[in-house]
Symmetry: C2
C-alpha cells in the first residue's frame, strides 16, 4: 500500500510520548478535532486536536504564531467556540493544517518547545458539540438494518422497493444533539398499548439505541447547485460516533405518514472527536454491491466511489447497567460491526442530498442510520438484537434487557486497524438514561 | 367584544396617514415585524415594524433613544440583522415594545417628529428571512388535507388512526427557507415513472405548492422540560405566510418509510412580515371538534385552547403564469380558505413538540401543514385542487394547470377582518419557478 502523503507514514513518532503507544487511538497519524475547555472552568470553548492523551489547544497555537500561511488561517478559524469557520475554509485549508500539525508534533520538530505550552491533558478537559449544526439529516444506509426492521413489520416483504435506488434519509432534530456524557430524561409521549383502542400519554417503555456514525459537512454548496459525486468528499470535514436514541413505542404510533418525529427528538449524542477523511484514507475499502443488485443511477456512481468509497471502521456498543456499575464490573459488549457493511457511502449521501438543489452548510451533520451488519450480533439497535423485544439480551451477572432501563449508560466506540497501519481511534460516545420527569 | 388592551382599540389612528386607510393591512393595530434594508444597498439588515406603507426602522429608533425601559431593551435587540435576540426576550418584552410603538405612532404623539426620520418606505425596502431558523418543523394540522391526500392513496381508509390523537409533524429543511421573492430552480430527483420497473433521475414533473402558515417560536424551553399547553402561546413570537413547495413525483418514490425529504428540501418561501399573536387577539375563535371525535389527551387540552385557541385568518392563493404576466392580466385566484379549519391549534403544536422533552429555541419555525378547508375550492395544494392531476385547473385566457410550469409565480396572501375590528394583514408570500438546471 502506498500512502497519500507523509502524514500517514506509519513510521512517524511524536514528541508527545503518549501518542506513540500501540493502543492509543490518537497517534500523530490521526489528529482529530474537537472543541474543549478545562473541566469545570469558565474558559471559552475552542478548537483542539487530540495527540496521545493530550489536546493541542488551537487558540493557544494561534496566539503563539508558530503556524503560518494557509495553516495559520485555519488555526485562527479553529480558535472559535465552534468549528464552523474552520469547516467553511474547505479541504485545502484542512489539509494544510493537518500537515503543519503533523510536522510540528513530530519527534525532533523545532516547534516542540513553544507547542508544549499549548497542550492540555484530555483528563482535564470537557467538550461541547463541535459545530453549530444548522441542519441534521439522518440516513438509513444499512440494508441489514432496513431489512431487520422491515421484517418486524412486513415479514414477507421486508425491504421496500426504493431502498436499493434511493439513499433514504430524513430530517432530524438539531437542537437536542448533545456531546458524549449527555444524560437525558426518558421521554414521555403518546403510545398505543397493545390491544388498546385509544392511546395513552406516559414515559416510553421501549427506549432504544441506534449505533451510527455522524458525518460533518465542511464547505457547503449554493442553493440550486448540486454537488457531483466526484466532488462530494471535498465537502466532508470528518466523521464522529453518533447514538440516535429512539423511543420505539412512540415511534410506532406517530411515524405514519410523515416519518419519525418526537420518538427521536429528545436526545442524540455524538462523540467530541471528529476524525478527518484524510486520517481515514488508509482504511478505505471498495464498495461492492451484492450480485444481482441494480447499479446506482449515474449521479450516485463513480469509479472512486466503487473502488475506495467505503471505510472499514470498527464499531462496538457497550451497555453499563446500574447493577454492573455498582458491582464495579465492565460494561457488557452487545454489538460489534464495521461501517464497511453500509449500502450507501458518504459520497453518495452528499450527492443525493444535493441533487435537487438543497444547500448544505458548514457544520451540517448527517447520521449514517443504524449500522447493523449482516449477522444478528452485528445489529446496532436493541429492537433488532432482541427480535422486537421477544428475546431479551442476557447480561453478565444474570441481568436481562429488552429495552433500556433508567440509569443505563450506553458507550459506543469506534476505531480503524489493520496490519501495516497505525490504529486510528474515534474515542467514545457515552449517554445515560435518567428517569422520566414526574 | 372587549379588547385585551389599548393597542387593539379600533378607534386608534396613526400620524402615518397610510396606516389609516380601510384597505391597509398594516394599521396601528397590527405592527408586524420583519428584517429589511434599503433595496440594492449594502446596508445591514435590521428589524423593522410595518405601519401603513412605511417601515419603522428599529435600529434608527434604538439610536434615537426615544423608547426606553423594557421596550428600549426590545428595540435594541431588534436592531440586529436577525430577530432571534428580540424573540428570546419573551412575551413581556414584546408586549412592552408593542405598547410603546403603538403610543409613539398615534396621532398627536410627542414622538412624531423624531420617529418620522426613522421611517423607510416599503417601496424602497428589501427583506431577509427574519430569524436564524435553528430547526424547522412542518406539521399536518388540516384534517381536510390529510383526508384528501389519504384518499388519493387509500380510497377506503383515507385518514390514519393516529390523526385525531397526534398533532402529526416532521422535521423540515431549514437551510433552503427563503423570503418572499424567492426564485428557485425546478428540482431534479429520482422518480418512478408509471408502469416502470426502475426509477429515473430528472426534473420533477409534478411541482406543487402547499398553502401554510409559519409559526415563529420566541422564547425556548430547556431540553427535558416540556411546555404546558396553558403556557404554550407565551413561547410564540408570531405568524407568517409559508409556501412549502413540493415535488410530488419525487415525494411518492422517496417517502417510505421515513417521510418526505428531498421532495421539499429545495425551497420553502415565507413572507417577510411576522404578525404577533397580540395583533391577532381580536380574531381568535373557538376550536370545536366535530361531534363524535375523541377529545384530546390532557396534555393537548385546556379551557383557553377550546374557547380561543384557533385564529380566523383568511388565506388566498394566486397563480401568475408567464402568459398572464405577459398579457398584463391579474393572477388567477385558485384557493380561498381560513386557518380556522385547522384540526390542531398553535398551542397544541407547541405542547406536543415539547412533551417528550424536545427543546425549542428562539427563531425555530413551525409550518402548519397545508391548510385545506372543508370544500374542494378551499384546498391548499394543486394535487388536491386537480384530484391528483386528473382534473386540470382552468385559468383565465384558456390556460390549464395540473402542476406548476417554469416561470409560474405563486402568491399567498393572508388577512383578518370582521365587523367592528380593523383589518390585519400578513402581506404576501411570492415565489417563482425557474427552469431546472441543465
Amino acid at each position: 500500500m502506498t500512502f497519500l502523503n507523509e502524514t500517514h507514514d506509519p513510521a512517524l513518532r511524536s514528541w508527545v510520548a503518549s501518542a506513540n503507544t500501540a493502543d492509543t487511538g490518537f497517534p500523530i497519524q490521526n489528529l482529530p478535532f474537537a472543541v474543549f475547555r478545562r473541566k469545570g472552568s469558565a474558559e471559552a470553548f475552542r478548537g483542539g486536536v487530540a495527540i496521545g492523551d493530550q489536546i493541542v489547544d488551537l487558540a493557544a497555537v494561534a496566539a503563539s504564531g508558530e503556524i503560518g500561511g494557509a495553516a495559520g488561517e485555519a488555526v485562527r478559524a479553529a480558535s472559535q467556540d465552534k468549528l464552523n469557520a474552520l469547516m467553511a475554509l474547505g479541504r485545502p485549508a484542512w489539509a494544510a493544517l493537518r500537515l503543519a500539525l503533523s510536522r510540528a508534533l513530530r519527534q525532533g520538530a523545532a516547534e516542540q518547545e513553544p507547542l508544549r505550552t499549548c497542550l492540555v491533558p484530555q483528563a482535564e478537559a470537557e467538550y461541547d458539540v463541535p459545530a453549530r449544526i444548522g441542519d441534521y439529516t439522518d440516513f438509513y444506509t444499512s440494508v441489514h438494518h432496513a431489512t431487520n426492521i422491515g421484517r418486524l413489520f412486513r415479514p414477507d416483504n421486508p425491504l421496500l422497493p426504493n431502498y436499493k435506488w434511493v439513499p433514504i434519509g430524513y430530517h432530524g432534530r438539531a437542537s437536542s444533539i448533545g456531546v458524549s456524557g449527555q444524560a437525558f430524561r426518558r421521554p414521555v409521549g403518546q403510545t398505543l398499548p397493545v390491544g388498546a383502542a385509544q392511546p395513552v400519554a406516559g414515559p416510553s417503555r421501549a427506549l432504544d439505541i441506534e449505533l451510527e456514525l455522524g458525518v460533518f459537512i465542511g464547505s457547503g454548496n449554493t442553493l440550486g447547485e448540486p454537488v457531483a459525486i466526484t466532488e462530494a468528499e471535498d465537502h466532508v470535514f470528518g466523521i464522529c460516533l453518533l447514538n440516535d436514541w429512539s423511543a420505539r413505542d412512540i415511534q410506532a404510533w406517530e411515524y405514519q405518514p410523515l416519518g419519525p418525529f418526537l420518538s427521536k427528538s429528545f436526545a442524540t449524542t455524538i462523540s467530541p472527536w471528529i476524525v478527518t477523511l484524510e486520517a481515514l484514507a488508509p482504511f478505505r475499502v471498495p464498495f461492492v454491491r451484492p450480485e444481482g443488485d441494480p447499479q446506482p443511477l449515474p449521479y450516485l456512481d463513480c469509479e472512486a466511489n466503487r473502488h475506495t468509497g467505503a471505510f472499514d471502521i470498527q464499531l462496538q456498543v457497550e451497555l453499563l447497567t446500574p447493577r454492573l456499575r455498582e458491582a464495579g464490573s465492565a460494561a457488557a459488549t452487545i454489538c460489534r460491526t464495521s461501517y464497511r457493511h453500509a449500502y450507501w457511502t458518504v459520497a453518495q449521501m452528499v450527492a443525493h442530498h444535493t441533487v435537487g438543489g438543497c444547500n448544505l452548510q458548514p457544520g451540517d451533520l448527517f447520521g449514517s442510520g443504524t449500522l447493523s451488519g449482516p449477522t444478528p450480533d452485528q445489529a446496532g439497535a436493541l429492537i433488532e438484537l432482541t427480535a422486537g423485544g421477544k428475546q431479551p439480551l442476557q447480561l453478565p451477572g444474570g441481568e436481562q434487557r429488552t429495552f433500556l432501563e433508567d440509569g443505563d449508560s450506553v458507550v459506543i466506540r469506534g476505531w480503524c486497524e489493520k496490519p501495516g497501519a497505525v490504529r486510528i481511534g474515534f474515542g467514545e460516545c457515552v449517554g445515560t438514561v435518567l428517569p422520566a420527569r414526574d
